[in-house]
Each structure stands twice: as C-alpha cells, then as structure tokens.
Amino acid sequence: MLRFLALLLALLVAGPAFAQSVVQTDNVRAELLSDVATVKPGEPFWVGLRQTIRPKWHTYWKNPGESGLPTEIAWTLPAGATAGPIVWPAPSLFDIGGVTNYGFKDEAMLLVRITPPADLAGPLKLAAEANWLVCEDVCIPEEGKFELTLPSGAAATPAPPALRALFETARRSVPTESPWPARYGVSKSGDPTLIVEARGLKPDTIRDVYFFPAEWGPVATMAKQTASVTAEGIRIPLRKGDAKAAMPAVLAGTLVLTEKTADGTVKQAFDVSAKLDPAFVPAPASLAGAAGAEQLSLVQALLFALLGGLILNLMPCVFPVLAMKAAAFARLAGHAQAEMRRDGLTYTAGVLVSFAAMAAIVVAIRASVGDVAWGFQFQSPVFSLLIAYLFFTVGLNLSGVFEFGGRLAGVGQGLVARGGTTGAFFTGVLAVIVATPCTAPFMAAALGFALSQPAPATVAVLLAMGLGLALPYLALTMIPALQRMLPRPGPWMDRLRQFLAFPMYASAVWMIWVLTQQTGSNGVLYALGGMILIAFAIWLLRLGGGTSSGNWTRRGVAAAAVLLAFAATLKLEDGPATAASASGERTSGVNFEGWERFSRARMAEAVAAGKPVFVDFTAAWCITCLVNERVALETPATKKAFEQAGVVKLKGDWTNRDDEITGVLKEVGRAGVPLYLFWAPGAAAPKILPQVLTEAMILSELSSIQQAKR
C-alpha cells in the first residue's frame, strides 16, 4: 500500500513530464504508458496498458477460464510501425461461485512491444482501442480509446524513474521461460498429465502448484489441481478439455508455484511448452496424482512386489533362514498333513505380520515426518550394526557353536527354536528381519511406488511382497506332491546347515561394510569388537554346570558383554562418512560457469583488495535462485556490466549442508537461500540485495559504483 501511495505521488509529481492517456470507467482506471520518453526510429520499446481495477473486481488473462473474456487492444499506428502481441502477466485463479476464472485483480499491466518505423520523422503517434470485461459477480464490458504521442530523437531516452519502476514490476510479473523441459501424456480415458522435469526440488518448500493452460480446449479449467512434487519433478494430472480435437503436439501454459524460502514465500511463474510424449500413458486419474517416476500402476506394483518377494528366497540373507526352516520341515516330514499346513500358514502369518508392522511404521513416519525413503532404516548405522550382530549370531548357530534353546532367549531366536506354531511364526518374523537388507536394491521401483502411495496402497504392496517371500514354503506345506520331491532327511542336513553359516558370515561382513559407509572406519572397530563380546558371551553361557553362584556370575558377565556390544551403537551416530558422501554430490544442479566458488577467505581477500564483490548463495533446489539467475544475473547485459565493473563473482552452493555458508546466512540474519551480497569497493559492509532480483537492480548497483569511481 505504501508503495502504491509512493507510486501515486511519483506519478502526480511526474505527471506532466510524460505523455499518457487515461481512461476512467466505473470499474477500471486504464492508462497507456511508455517506458521511453523519446523514441529512436527503428528501435523497439515497450508500452503498457495499465489497469487499476476496482477492489474485488477482476479482468481476464488470455485464457479467461470458464467464463470471461481477455482484454483486447487494437492499434492504429503510423505506417511502418508495428505492435507485438500482448505480453501477459502471470494470472491468478478466481472462484466466482463455483465458476473458475483466470485473471487479474487490483492491478495488471499488459505489455506490448512497439517497433517504430526506421524512417520516423517527428513524433510517434500511438492510438489504441482497448476493450475488457471486468467482473465481480456481475460482468461489465468496458472499453477505452488511448493516444500517446512520443517525440523521437537520435537516441531513445528512458521514461522517468517512477514509470520505469512500473515497467520493471510488470516485466517481473511476466512468466519466464521454464528452465525445465516438460512433456505430457494422455491416459486411456483421454485425460492429460503434465510432467515438468524439475528434478531435485524439495517438495516441502513448494506450495500451490497450478498449471494455467494457455488456451481453451485441450485442458479443462479446473478449480483444483492435485500436483505432486517429487525429487523427479512436478507432476500435474489434468482433465481433458471440451475441444473435440486431437491433443496438440505441444501443450502450452503457465505454471505458477509458490516457493517457500527460509525468509518468506515467493511466487514464480513459468511458461511451459510440454511436448506430447506418446510413450507416456499415465495411469487412471485415481493413481495418477501420486505414482512415482517409474509410472507403475498399483496392479503392476503388486505383481512386482510378489515377484520380488519370491526372489528374496534366493537371497543370501534369507537362504540360511530357509535352511533352518527346511530342517524344521524335514523333522515334520511324516507328520499329519494338517499339522504341516498349520506350520506353513503360521510361517506365512509371521512373514505377513512383520511386513504389516513395517508398513505401519512407514505410514506412521510418513504421517509425522512427511517424507520417507526406502532403506530409511539403513540410514541408521545402529540398525546396520544390530543386523550385523544378528547375522553373526545366526551364523554361529548354523556352525554349531551353540544351539538355540535352553535359556538363551536373546534376539528372538529362542522363540524361533520353539517347536510348533510359535516357532513357525517367529521363523517368519526372522526371515523378514534378515530379508529387508536384501530388499532395498532389488525392490526399488515397487517400494518407491509403495512409499509414494496413500496408506492402503503402501500396506498392500508390502503385504504382496511378504506373500511372495512366504509363498514357496507355503506351497510346500500345502501340496503333498511337492513334499515328495524333497530329499529324505539325513546327515546331509547337518552338513548343509553348517555350510549355510558361511553366507551368513558373508552377510555380516557386508553389513559391516555398509556400516563403514555410514560411520567411517571406526564402525569396523565397534562392530568387530561387539562380535567378539557376543562370541564371548555365548562361550560363557555354554560352559554350563558348576555351582549356581558360578552360573550367575557367568550370566552376569555374559550379559555385560552383550550390553557392551550393544553400547557400541551409541558411538555410531552422525559419522563423518555420511557428510562426505553428501558433499560428493555438491556440484549437482548449480552452474558455476563464470563464477568462482565461494569461500570466506576468497571473499575477504577480494574485499580487502578493494574490488567490488558479488556473492550469490544458491542451491539446486531453490527455484527463486534459478529464476534470479535467468532474469537478472546471467542476462547478457548483466554479464557485461559485471565484467566492465571488474566484479569478483562468487557463488556459494547450499544444495547440501555447508557449514561455512550456513554461518554466513546466520550472520546476516537469513535462514536460507537465496541470499545476494554486494560489496561496493572499499565498503565496510556488504549490501544485502532483495530475494527477488531484477536486471535493473543489478545494473543500478553496478552503475552506482561506476559513478563513484569517477
């Protein structure tokens, strides 16, 4: 409001200085403005039809939506002069009692590029007839005639600053060309889905994604769009429009989204031209909003999950468990069929309950945190270590170092060893626990899908996987014909069992390797030390016999050893390797061409040398940063001005955590990027530029130091 008043004042003061033509209707004050005071023959310049709209009323965008009409301008120009099409600001969405409109409220500046004739002599006379529809609840068509006469000269002279500021604001509200490629596909029902391949966005910083189709026809005007923002990009399921024509080769429109930066929200608009991708057939609308990058349908995902579960049986991590199961099974051989069936069913139940529990955890975490990646449990080094211990212990068991049973009720193996139903159930649970490490790499697509789905689908996919895991054994117990194909029990079973200890040890080794990836080399020390302690505890417990007080001492020591092994987990959090692997990707997405990498030292050095320094703190996922680069920092004019002024250009990449940059942000009271600092030569402190940059802003900063030099 203040700005508006200032503007009004500026206009009043500057009023007579520039030519304008104002039409005041009941609902709109419209004026034709020019960004130059003097025209140079043959050199294009901009004019704007500025509409100041009665509060609560609105005028329309080029595609007005479900009702309304766009503003039209008809030009009468001297021979040889041309007027371009209207360059529209990004629209807003209005809901007029259930009818969706695209347009503008309060104020809109419609820009038009005028090219005067090269042989222009004397003043340039522009005449325009404009008509517009302005609506609140009721709609009024209005019109106005405008005339603007601009003197011509050898060089164009800019309009007064207040007016130029208006144009600057207007240009800023025009959508920029999308920095990302886009494509769209059509589902079997004919509904298009738009994909804007904006990779690496942070879903939690993007709000209000809406695609305004450029024209009536191919896409319906929707009151609501359910866009999903994933790391792969923006996906917007749309509804087909009313045009009875084939879908166009290119679907054009304006994508408007609001980015939440740490210091406020910024609305961004991009012009998108999405090519029709015949290979992309989106799933039906019910799933289209949430499917992952690999575009699986729920049915496909369920099948993949089932298949994946089956394959899990061949994984080294699960194989040993199955060996245990096979041994148990062989013992069961000859028992009543009913008992076998019960055994198979309870095993299956154990597997399914575990998967259901996992699904519940996923859903719960997602509900509270909002973002889960599969393998999230393996991001925890504690989990890796515990699994390594488990593999090791099971390995020892298979080797025959100790037998399950007795009083060694530890991680649940005790329950497994119990015969009958409980045993079968917990074998299932154990199979799942040891199987999960194998699932992540092989089940990526299906799990990714599951995790991006609404809760029921997540649960369904995970259960399908569990069913796949349990299926072979279930089939074995259910179908007597299969049982007859199994070899007879005998001493080979013990040998097989002992052999299977080795894949178990191998799995433990692998888990320790994973651990080192997470924590660095110290992880090896803790893990192997912990394993020795566990082996020691087992040995102590197996000594047996002796007095009861001796027994208790041994148990106490064994318990202490195990506790110590587990205490190692406390030392594991936040190891250095995690940070190292994160920084390995630091260059992704941020373009350093023409820029030096920011460091405090380099900045201090350049400032001390009396050079002008511009610092751009950016991140690959920061859309506002990207837009600023495109419209203000990387334009030819800015580049040239930077060069002429001898500016040292530093760029800090905050895509991943960077303590140095975080420190700088904190010092200037910012919580995140974008942040732009400009040190004039010899300045004691940098100037903090706004979050939303314009070319003019940068140029004026640079010209101010040029003037100071003189």
């Binding site: 479900e66 009702s67 009409l69 809901d95 007029i96 009692g97 259930g98 009818v99 969706t100 409109n101 008509n131 529809l133 609506c135 609840d137 009721v138 709609c139 009024i140 068509p141 879903p203 939690d204 993007i206 709000r207 209000d208 994604v209 809406y210 009536w216 026809g217 005007t221 929707m222 009151a223 609501k224 769009q225 866009a227 999903s228 923002v229 994933t230 790391a231 009313d242 045009a243 009875k244 949430a290 992952g292 990058a293 997602r366 909002g370 973002d371 990646a373 393998g375 393996f378 991001q379 992540a440 790499p441 990526a444 799990l447 990714g448 991006s452 692998w510 994973v514 990836q517 692997s581």
Partner: protein, 213 residues
Amino acid sequence: MSNFSVPRRSLMLGGAALALAPAAAFATTSPDVGKPAPLFTAVDSNGKSWSLADLKGKVVVLETTNHDCPYVRKHYNSKNMQDQQREAAAKGVVWLTTASNAAGEQGAVTPAQANELTRSRDAAPAAVLIDPQSKIARAYGATVTPHMYIIDAKGVLVYKGGIDSIPSSSVADVPKAKQYVRLALDEVLAGKPVTVASTQAYGCTMKYPRTST
C-alpha cells in the same frame, strides 16, 4: 550389493501431493457431447412443467439467460436470438430458455418478469424455464449466459458452447460471426453429425446459489 546407498537417495519420494486453489463451491463438470444429456424437470413462466424425458423424439435447444448481461443483450438487441428461436420453432425444435441465475442474483426473474421480458423483447422460445436453484445449469455445467446446448431426438447432447464465434458484446459482430447453434441445428435436423460440436462459450459468469458451498 555395494550400491546399497543408492536407493535411499533415488527414492526420496515423499507424501508430497500438494493441493491448492480456494475451495470451489463445486466443480463445474459438464457432460460430454455424444453422451446422453442430463435429464431435468422444471416449471416454466406459465406454470407448465417440462421434463426432458418427455421430449424424446424432438430436438431440444437450451439457452441459459440473464437479461441484464451485456452478452445476452447483444443477441436480443440484434434480434439474433429471437430469429433463431423462430427458425427453430418452425422446424419443430423445442427451444427452452432457462433463467438459471440463482434467486436474488442478477438475471433471476419471477414468472411474471420472464413473460414481460419475452413480450418486450419479442422473443419466441417454446418456454422460459424458471430455475432459481440453478439445477439445470449445474447439470449441464453452464458457466456463462448465454451458454447453448443442443439435444438430439434420441436425447443425446450434440452441441455445447457459445452461440457464435465472436466473443464480444458488440451487436456489430453478430453478422460477421459464425452462428454455431444455427449451423449445428441444421446438421442435426439433416441427420448429419455436428461438425463443430463443442466451442468456448462466452458471456457473463453464471450466478450460482451462494449457499451451495
């Protein structure tokens, strides 16, 4: 399996669906052309009841109206609307003008007002349906006045959209415009498929009941 850390990065798929836009009172979904037209029953300005189901065997035109809307006035002041109503009646087409703007809004009329408007404008619809709850407009997804629909003798929606091709409020544009409804009606009556079966309607926004939110 050394790429163990890969999936956790590539699968950062969160529950990220973002909804937006102000809550709409309702989604304007209009029936597709080529599909059965939504049935309705309404009372006209003379108290007579009309049901689309009873009109099977006849071609029906629906015209949403708001007499204060400049775009409606354009077609009545130019006599374009009345002319087409008469032509249609002569060919046995049932032309139903529907006053569907919600009671209390601009364009809502009492039966007496509707009859007075028909008289003063010299209009010739088969009937003016009084639809203060916007039921017909809603069933057809009408967004503007005039929004035009043609239903063939089998009850199939064969045209929806604008009355003509020049979206303006200027009477001078009427003779220059392609009269979509007239062209479509001719095709329907000749037993041909409609060439231009769906166009962008233009006019004033329909005023639906405010309580519908």
